[in-house]
Subunit: 141 residues, 6 copies
């Protein structure tokens, strides 16, 4: 059930191994999960993905658990089985309770339902929900 | 750009109008947005959707703003233009800052990207991310 | 391959068990399928989903088999493996023949194909396919 | 809002025009809708699509209106605005009542909702919903 | 994990077997893959799909390997596990190198990411990207 | 039809303007399209997206036009109207002929169709299409 090998430390090249080591150090664990091992065949893509992930999921204006729940919501809607598993686990590791998981499920299901209805009926967007695309002082230079 | 009429108060039937009035009362506004007016042709579906929405988005274990951002994330991934507009507006009304919106965008884009990679490579799920489907004491009765 | 336990009758709480019993009674079978057992960790979500499902799939203006085939079409397009399996089985239980299944496949595949073409070419909607969003007598009150 | 021209009869080539004429004859109308006019730049693709559509949507084991509603269900889930408009109009032309449209909406929304839940929880498929992939007598030759 | 049997040569009917034989002859192999065996229950759908596939993927204006990579890109985005596996294998058989596969992954991931951003922000299309829907000389006849 | 303003040069901050200038220089044009102007409210996201795009779409092992066509294929499947318009225009600017565009359409539509069929039938992946997830010498260190 894979289209690329899941590279062990031994099978990975030096550049990929350096990323594995960085993952271990930053996450304070010896375990490097399959996603990174599958990307290791292309060390440039591996590094770019890992570095961007740290920036996006790092400290900022949203709580780390909130970010994980948003990640789960996108992964469910995109139907990415791997990502649903890994980010639900990550959300739990960051403190998501069963009750919060239940509400996350309920919001995702509600949105899926009203998304379908609004699309099926092709409801026109209310003027008040739109940002005027260009402020008067914002004509392209 | 619609496949069903957007019913005015005058055009809506008594059952639909009762839901409109409940929306006005609960949201403390005179404005009933197009989504509800498009559903008004089927008052039973209208009421069921409105009542469930209140339960799901009401007070609970997740912050109301967090629920709105999860709603936006699903709506973006489902590509529901109406819902992206209405729930981004709702998130702003609940206090989402520009910086938070920027991070929401970044998490959604990051998830879209790694979802695509995990799917493209068909990465097998790590054992540690799975919940054993059935606890020893949980054999179906 | 799960992110939540599939609760046995023994592991389920009293509220969830009451829903299981209702499923058994209404469906006239002892078997409660995994979908409901996975939802049982959140008995409120479990009940809301089960009750709404009965209303939607119950007697009405569309034939029960037609409803199941529509359910399959949505599940295929959303790529929900569980739902494709369960609702294809349900459609067969409601009398779907092999020939009807073949036509269902053909219509789903045809729609997928023309959906892709219309989207790829961004074909503008013909005026005659649109419902005027608002009837003259339907200006919002 | 197009990435290809919508060809008039005059702008279309002879091969495309022959397909337009066949559409007019089979549908007993002078009107050729934009989808076909957008495909007319590639007459081979135009003809292949039109001929396959007639086979799939023609008389068979499912009622023509049922086929249109399945088409709408797929188009909604794929979020194809053009197709939602054209096939909802086609379903109405084939006799879909407002009550049937309401139920179609409700089934689509219900499926979207349970699809999301089954995917979010990664519910394993019950054995009884699977067809054994290969019958004992069906080992590949 | 199937909703239809995977028919062996013995279990397939004469019409399906004729298509299997054509697949073997055209592909110069004895192996008929599961996709065709799953379609064999509906020989008309089987033949229509096989014949159209040959036209679309046959010699033309795009390189056969390019066509396979486009096929993979669509299959990934549609999350079709079967198709990702079969068309990645086909692309490799047509000469796709590891470096090309890496770039294919990167482009798919980049597109997924910017698709999400453009959708999330509902960016209006620049005039210069649109083809005027109708040339002056192209008014419908 | 936007949820964020499309910033003019005047309205954009210094960091965003620096990215606009880089876009102008690299693309050898004065025109900065709406996608970048919509991202300009978050200059960090703007720069990260622009820099990654250059790496991914720059010279490598796939032809630039091939990359654009893959981008179009993903954008169509994700139904991103903005991206379909902008990348179809980009593909044309890189030399895509009408005949190549027609074949791109045909491959996308074919893939959409067989994706739907493989998913609808839940066809199990043939062993020969799978890469053994782990080579004998590749046990995790």
């Amino acid at each position: 059930m894979a289209v690329a090998p899941i590279l062990s430390d031994k099978a990975a090249g030096a550049e990929a191994l350096a990323v594995f080591d960085d993952i271990r150090a930053k996450r304070n664990t010896d375990y490097v999960n399959n996603f990174w091992r599958a990307l290791a065949a292309d060390p440039v893509l591996l590094r770019a993905t890992w570095e961007r992930l740290q920036v996006v999921m790092g400290p900022g204006h949203l709580d780390p658990l909130v970010k994980e729940m948003i990640y789960v919501a996108v992964s469910v809607t995109n139907n990415c089985s791997y990502c649903i598993h890994s980010h639900t686990a990550a959300a739990r590791a960051k403190g998501m309770t069963d009750a919060q998981h239940g509400e996350l499920m309920a919001v995702i299901a509600m949105a899926a339902q009203t998304n379908a209805l609004a699309t099926a009926l092709q409801v026109p967007v209310d003027d008040r929900f739109m940002v005027s695309a260009q402020a008067p002082d914002a004509a392209p230079a």
